[in-house]
Symmetry: C2
Subunit: 161 residues, 2 copies
Amino acid sequence: MTSTARREARITADPDVPLIRIVREFDAPRESVFRAHTEPELVAQWMGPRSVENRIDRWDCRTGGSWRYVSVHEGQEYGFYGSFHEVRPNELIVQTFTFEGMPDGVALERLVLEDIGGGRTRLTATSLVDSFEGRDAFLASGMEVGVNEGYEKLDELLARG
Amino acid sequence: MTSTARREARITADPDVPLIRIVREFDAPRESVFRAHTEPELVAQWMGPRSVENRIDRWDCRTGGSWRYVSVHEGQEYGFYGSFHEVRPNELIVQTFTFEGMPDGVALERLVLEDIGGGRTRLTATSLVDSFEGRDAFLASGMEVGVNEGYEKLDELLARG
């Protein structure tokens, strides 16, 4: 059972521009990984660290759509929102991202899914912001816990088919 | 008549991140400059160089809305589209921007309007992309013609009240 092996996402800071790049592989076809990003009832199940519950207000995952969700951690609510700039089925999602606790911050995010054979998929997610300070503060915030626990939950969701 | 003086927008390349910054002042209150960016029939009248006609397909300028327009130059059509991440009346518009001729390119744009007294407004527009090469190619493309002619048309529109 390959899916029991713990995998870490590769998280790197771009040397030239204020961008974070996350690469992670999944034992599931691209269509399934894509669907887990576009259907709100699936997204709510895996996104973020294990310590939070997600409540999705809207998730209109199509070119020109918008989204908002709330993560609940020990009774505290944290809101996030943005818009879907472009959605190409099974291939690409380009979206914006703001944490409502920092309302003047915004990231431009790009998710690319590649078929790497054998029913497996490589996900590459980039997040671009307008300052190295902001990017590096986010990297130092412990964000890798949410990324890795979220993708482990996504592994589990995909394994359930 | 102050409005007959030709003004150039100040267009600068950020030294640290792949961002362009445009600063321009207008002899009109913030509410009027904002409305000229949000009402599609006004936007169509001033956006871009004098040599083009704009046809707006959609311009839903609110948080979570989307937009698309076509510029017609000598019979050729050039399409542009994106989404409105956030719109704060009279203050701020954050949006995405793609030229359909380069469908994998996307910019994150931020428009800030400041009241500088005397019924005048300072507009600061930034455009962030993910590479210096892309940013510098855009700066070298003659984009300042479209920016300056567009803002001259906007001066004229604002002067008509």
